[in-house]
Every structure is written in C-alpha cells, then in structure tokens.
C-alpha cells in the first residue's frame, strides 16, 4: 500500500541532494575571512544589547488573546455563508437573523472588553509598568563587549580586496 508514496520519496530525495550539494559546495569553494564583528549576532546593523528573552507588559498578552478569540469566531461565518446560498428567500431572512444574534453576542463581548478598560494601554506610571521596571532593573543586560566600540571600521585587508 505504501508503494504509491514512492514518487513522493523520490522528490524528497532529489530535493535533499540539490540542497545538500549547494551547502557543501559553498562550504568548499567560498573564501572564509572571519572577523570579530562578522561573528556577532546579526541585528539589522544594530549593536546587539541584552537578551532577547525579556519580559513584556501583560497587555500584549491580553490583546493577543482577545485577537485569537474574536478571530476564531469568524471561522463560523464560512459554513453559515455556504448554507445561506442554498436557502430560499424566507430561509435567508431567518439565517440572517441567526447570524445577527451570533454577531450580537460577540458585540456584547466587545462592549465588555472596552467597558472594563482591557484595551486601554495605560501610562508609564501605572502600577504594572512600575513592577515591570523593577523586574527589569533586577536583571543586568547581557554584555557582548563591543558596546563602546563605536562605528565599525573595516580592516584594511578587506578594503584592498574590494
């Protein structure tokens, strides 16, 4: 029964060979002139400072969760839309009312979210931001040793090659 997957296997093998050949080829043929700055983490030209695993304000979580919940509810519009097309005129009115109720409940949820201030971003001096600031200060940023090195100057050898 697995015989039908052989073409798929062949495709995977060919892809692996091509990709592998490219990587190995560039390893063998490419010139290597490592410098200290070439080996630091690439951060779009910025000097890397601190660890990426930092604590974020809790509001990012809240907004993300609200997005997920409201986003997933839209999936129910699809089966509804398919059924809607099949219905007669009277049935369509009925289906429209049903979807109105569904969206209405979501709207109430939205009013609740807004009414309780869950979407307000707050200011720097509110309690949670202060707590966060304290937590940040407690942990020193990771240092790479190149923070004070100023703008990067290319070694003279590299300029000659160009």
């Amino acid at each position: 029964m697995l015989g039908r997957y052989i073409p798929l296997l062949v495709a995977v093998v060919i892809a692996a060979i091509i990709a592998g050949a490219m990587v190995v080829g560039s390893l063998i043929l490419g010139p290597k002139k490592p410098t200290r700055f070439k080996e630091t983490t690439y951060e779009c030209g910025m000097t890397p400072v601190g660890s990426a695993r930092d604590r974020f304000p809790i509001r990012f979580y809240l907004v993300a969760m609200l997005f997920i919940i409201f986003d997933v509810e839209t999936v129910f519009l699809y089966p509804w839309a398919v059924t809607f097309e099949l219905g007669s005129r009277a049935e369509r009115m009925f289906l429209l009312t049903e979807m109105g109720i569904f969206v209405g409940i979501l709207l109430i949820a939205y009013f609740y979210v807004v009414g309780t201030g869950s979407l307000e971003w707050g200011t720097e001096d509110d309690a949670s931001s202060k707590a966060l600031g304290k937590a940040k200060a407690a942990r020193p940023p990771i240092r790479f040793g190149n923070e004070n090195s100023g703008p990067v100057s290319l070694p003279s050898g590299a300029r000659k090659a160009a």
Binding site: I58, M65, I69, D71, V75, F76
Partner: protein, 103 residues
C-alpha cells in the same frame, strides 16, 4: 494510479499524535509545554474527525473540527491567563514547585 491517501493512514497519524500528546503530558514539568501537548491531543482528534468525515462523505466531521478549534482557542485563553496569574503570585510556574496544596 490514484494518489488519494487512504483513511487508515490519517487515523494512524492521528493515533501517533495522540500518543505523543499523552507522553508529553506525563513527562513534562512546564505547564505551558503540558498544555501544548494537550493541544496536540485535541488536534489529533481534529485530524481524525476530518479524515473520517471525508471517508463517510459526511460534512459533520469538518463542522465538528471548527467547533473544536473554537473550544481550543477558549481553552488557550483561560489556560494562559491562569498561568500568568500563578506566575505573578509565585514567580515560578514549574509544576514541581506548585506544592502549596500537597498533603
């Protein structure tokens, strides 16, 4: 040669996913990872529903999957909220350290 994947293969994959989920729940100590394993179990069931729905020519299997996805999203929201709340009071979420309520 028809290239349709037979239903048994889907169910086999679903069973494998389910077992991975159960094994993860049994061995992991980080609640977020445990929770991800539970989500894998839910998605194993989802896969089974879709495959069986296609097998029976019944649209129900797909609708069930949508309902389960919505349920899973709600579960994520509640679960992560509880984990965040626990982290705020305890500064740790390791399950071995959640021991205030041991006998």
């Amino acid at each position: 040669m028809s290239f349709a994947v037979p239903t048994e293969h889907y169910l086999l994959l679903s069973a494998v996913l389910f077992c991975i989920g159960v094994a993860g729940v049994a061995t992991k100590r980080n609640p977020i990872v445990v929770f991800m394993c539970i989500e894998i179990m839910l998605n194993a069931a989802n896969l089974g529903f879709v495959a069986l729905g296609r097998h029976f020519g019944d649209v129900g299997g797909q609708i069930y999957t949508m309902l389960i996805i919505a349920v899973a999203a709600g579960e994520v929201a509640i679960g992560l909220a509880i984990i965040v709340s626990l982290f705020r009071t305890r500064e740790t979420i390791d399950l071995d350290e959640a021991d205030l309520l041991k006998l």
